[in-house]
Symmetry: C2
Subunit: 452 residues, 2 copies
C-alpha cells in the first residue's frame, strides 16, 4: 500500500501567506460605509481593526510574510498532515484517489487557529488590550480565546444563544482559555437590546452576534473586533492550508483534479482552494475547485450577487457578495459554522467569474458521509467539515461511475468530538433535513439595501 500520511518537515511550513487579490481577473467591488453608502477608507476600519490587518485587507501583494512569532505558534499543530484515504476508497470501490488535509489537530480542534493567532498577534503589536468577537457553534470563539490567552489579551465572545445552550463544550473550552462568553442577543449592547425588545426569546444568529461584538469594540478604546471568516485577511491567513497541501501532494507526484472545501463565511474553502485557483489563473490548470454549502443556507447557489449588510444591526461595511439577505435566519442545522447569510467577497467574486464551482448538500447526506468516513478513516468530522466529505464522496462515486482515476483533495477542517450530540440525533433517526428554504430567502432578499 502506498503512503497513508504525507508529512512536511517543520522547515517546510509556509513562511508567507498567499494573497489571491494579486491574481484575480476582477477584484471585488469596494466595501461601503453603511451610513453613507460611500466606499470606506482605512480610517473607517481603524476603530475596530489594527492597521496591519487593514493593510492586508486591501493588499494586492501576492505574498505576505508570516511574522516569526506567528510561525512559532503555528508549529504547535503545523505542518498539518495530508492523508490518502485508502480505506475509504476501498469502501467506495472507487478508482479515484482521495486525499484529505486534516486541520483538526490544532489545540482547539479546527482550522480557525490559523487566523486567530495572526489576528491576536497584530492586535497585540498595535497595543490593543482586549478583543471582542462573535461565534456560532464555537470553533472560532475557542480558537480566538486560545490566541488571546497566548498573547495576554482579554477576550469577550458573543455566542449565538441557541449554541450557547446546545453546545456547552465549546463554550467551556473558551472559559478554560480564560474568555468571557456572553449569550447573544444580550442586554449589554444597543444592538442586543433592540433585538430583545422585538423578540425577547430570540435564539440569536451570527449576524446579530457580529453586531454586538462590533458595537462592543467600537465603544472601547482598548478593544478591537476580530472576525473568524468572510474578510480578505482571514482568507489570506488560511492560505497555509492549501499551500501545505500542494507541497505534500508534490511529494507523492500528485495533483488534484478536484479540490473541495466546506463553505460558510468562505475562509476554510479559501484556505484549501485559493492556492489551486492560482494555478488555474496563472498556469491554466484544469483543476476544479468546489465550495460546498448547506442546502439550508445556500448562499452561493441560491443567493444574489449584490451589495448587502454583513450584520443584523447594519454596523459593519456593506459588502458586494453572494447573499441571502441580512435578515435571513437559516434553519437550525447542526453545522452552526455554516449558517451565515453572506459569503466572503473574494469567494463570491471568483464564483461570479466562473473560476470556482459551488454545490449545496443536505445535512442527512452529510452525516451519512461523515459516519462512513469515521468508520473507515477513524477521524470523526465536525458537522461543518462533513459537507466537504459528502462532496468528496460524491465525486469519488461519479469517478467510479465514469471509470475515471480522478485525484480528489478535500479539507477536513475540524474534528467532531464536540459535536457528538449532533451525531446522536443522526444515529437515532431524528435528524431533520432542510432543503432550499425558498420562502425564507425571498422574504429576506426583499430587504437588500438600495445602493445607487
Amino acid at each position: 500500500m502506498s503512503q497513508t500520511k504525507i508529512m512536511l518537515e517543520e522547515k517546510e511550513i509556509p513562511t508567507r501567506w498567499y494573497n489571491i487579490q494579486a491574481d484575480m481577473p476582477n477584484l471585488p467591488k469596494p466595501p461601503l460605509n453603511p451610513r453613507t453608502n460611500q466606499p470606506i477608507g482605512p480610517e473607517d476600519l481603524a476603530p475596530i481593526f489594527p492597521l496591519e490587518l487593514i493593510k492586508q485587507e486591501v493588499s494586492t501583494e501576492r505574498w505576505i510574510d508570516i511574522p516569526e512569532e506567528v510561525q512559532q505558534i503555528y508549529k504547535l499543530w503545523r505542518p498539518a498532515p495530508l492523508y490518502r484515504a485508502h480505506r475509504l476508497e476501498k469502501a467506495l470501490q472507487t478508482p479515484a484517489k482521495i486525499y484529505y488535509k486534516y486541520e483538526g489537530g490544532s489545540p482547539s480542534g479546527s482550522h480557525k487557529t490559523n487566523t486567530s493567532i495572526a489576528q491576536a498577534y497584530y492586535n497585540k503589536q498595535a497595543g490593543i488590550k482586549r478583543l471582542a468577537t462573535e461565534t456560532g457553534a464555537g470553533q472560532w470563539g475557542s480558537a480566538l480565546s486560545m490566541a488571546c490567552e497566548f498573547f495576554g489579551l482579554e477576550c469577550t465572545v458573543y455566542m449565538v444563544k441557541v449554541s450557547y445552550h446546545q453546545k456547552p463544550y465549546r463554550r467551556l473550552l473558551m472559559q478554560v482559555y480564560g474568555a468571557e462568553v456572553i449569550p447573544s442577543p444580550s442586554q449589554l449592547t444597543n444592538a442586543g437590546r433592540e433585538i430583545l425588545a422585538v423578540d425577547p426569546d430570540s435564539l440569536g444568529s451570527l449576524g446579530m452576534a457580529i453586531s454586538e461584538a462590533v458595537e462592543d469594540a467600537a465603544m472601547r478604546e482598548d478593544t478591537n473586533y476580530a472576525l473568524g471568516s468572510v474578510l480578505n485577511h482571514v482568507c489570506l491567513h488560511q492560505s497555509v492550508i492549501g499551500l501545505e497541501a500542494k507541497a505534500q501532494l508534490a511529494k507523492v507526484d500528485a495533483y488534484p483534479d478536484v479540490v473541495i472545501g466546506c463553505c460558510g463565511g468562505g475562509t476554510n474553502f479559501a484556505g484549501i482552494g485559493f492556492p489551486f485557483v492560482y494555478d488555474k489563473i496563472k498556469e491554466g490548470n484544469k483543476v476544479r475547485v468546489i465550495a460546498v454549502e448547506p442546502a439550508a443556507c445556500p448562499t452561493l447557489t441560491k443567493g444574489k450577487f449584490t451589495y448587502d449588510y454583513s450584520d443584523t444591526a447594519k454596523l459593519t461595511p456593506i459588502m458586494n457578495m453572494y447573499t441571502l439577505g441580512h435578515d435571513f435566519m437559516p434553519p437550525g442545522i447542526h453545522a452552526g459554522g455554516l449558517r451565515y447569510h453572506g459569503d466572503s467577497p473574494l469567494v463570491s467574486q471568483l464564483y461570479h467569474d466562473g473560476l470556482i464551482e459551488a454545490r449545496a448538500v443536505t445535512q442527512k447526506g452529510c452525516f451519512e458521509a461523515a459516519t462512513l468516513f469515521a468508520k473507515n478513516e477513524g477521524i470523526l468530522p465536525a458537522p461543518e467539515s462533513s459537507h466537504a466529505v459528502r462532496a468528496a464522496i460524491d465525486e469519488a462515486l461519479a469517478a467510479k461511475e465514469a471509470g475515471e482515476e480522478k485525484t480528489i483533495l478535500f479539507c477536513l477542517s475540524g474534528h467532531g468530538h464536540f459535536d457528538l450530540a449532533s451525531y446522536d440525533t443522526y444515529l437515532s433517526g431524528k435528524l431533520e433535513d432542510y432543503e432550499y428554504p425558498e420562502e425564507l430567502i425571498n422574504k429576506s432578499l426583499a430587504n437588500l439595501p438600495e445602493i445607487k
Copy 2:
C-alpha cells in the same frame, strides 16, 4: 527560541515493541486460576484471548515485531509529536526543560489506539468475529470500537453505568464506530444480574464491567475478550510511546532526568516509562520514572503488593500486584480511567523492586495544573492525563526551588475535548477533592483472596 515540536519521519516509527520482561531483575509471580489458585497455562486463557496475545503475555523476548498491517494503521496518528513546553516553562519561571509526548492526536483522542489496533488485528487473524470489553470513561471503548470497525469485527462494550450516563459523548463515538454499548452492570450476564440483585441502583465499576465482558466472551465461541490496560501485552503495545519519545529527545541531544506518566491500570505509564527503565537497568542511567495516580484510588502508594482478583466476579486470573482489594469502590473522580483497584503486575513488580517511583495527587490540583497547561500550550488535557501534568509541574517547581536545570518528560495521553463537563465543575468551584480513602481501602483489603 529552540524547537517547539520534535517530529520523526514516518520511517522512524518503531517497527518492534519493547518487552520489559526481557530485562526485569524479577518477573512478576505467575497469574493463578481463580477457581484452583494454581498457576494458569495458555489453555486457561485460550477461551478469551488469541494465541499470539497469550504468547506476548508471557514472552521474555526483548523485541517483538509489529505486524505490517498494524504499522500501516499506526501511521494514521504516529509518529506522535514530542513538544517542548516553552510557554509553560516561562509561566512557571522554571529553569527546567519540560517535554511532553502527545498521544491525543489519535482519531479517538487518546493513546489507547496503540493497543486496540494490535488486539483487533491478532483476534481477526485468529478467526474471531466479535470482541467484548469494558470501559470506564470511554477512552478504551472508543479506541477498541474503531479498531474493530477497521478489521470488520463486531464490538460490544460494557460501559460503567455512571459514565454511560455522565459521559454520553464517548459513548456516542463508540456508536458512530458501530459498537454496541451496554451500561454495566446489566441484566445480560450472570455477573451483572448478581450485582443488580444485591444493589439494583449500582453505578458500576471497572471491576464489574470486566466481569461482564469476560463472561460474555467466555460464553460465545466466536467472541474474545479485550482488555485496555493492566496486562503485559498491553504494556508491550504501548511501548511505542516511550521508544518514539526517546528517539525524538535524541534529535535535540536531550535525555530526561525525570519521566512521568499517569497510572490507572498502568499501561500508559508503562508506554512512556519502560523504555527508560530499560536504560536504568541495562545502562545504569539515573533517570527517575514516576507513576502518578489519584489520591482517591492510590493503588501503588497505599495498596498491598499481593495476589488479588482483577474483577468483581472473580472470573479473571488472580494476579500479583499492588491492589486496594477487588471490592474497593473508588470515589467518583473525573479521571474515570484511573479508577481501578489494581495495577499492572509489571508496573507493580518494578515499583516493588524500587526501579520506579509512585506518587498520588488530588483532583483539584490536577485540574488546576491542566488549566494552566491549556492556557499556555493550547492543548486541553484529559482528566487522566492531568495527573501527569500535575506531577510534571511539581517537578519543574522543585527544580526552580533548587535552581536545577532538569529535563522533564511526561506523557500527555489524551485530549480533554470529551471531558469539558469535568472542567465546568472545576471552573465553577464545585469540584470535590478526595484524599486517601483509608476506611474504604481497609474494608476492601480485608477481602483479599487467601493464597497459600
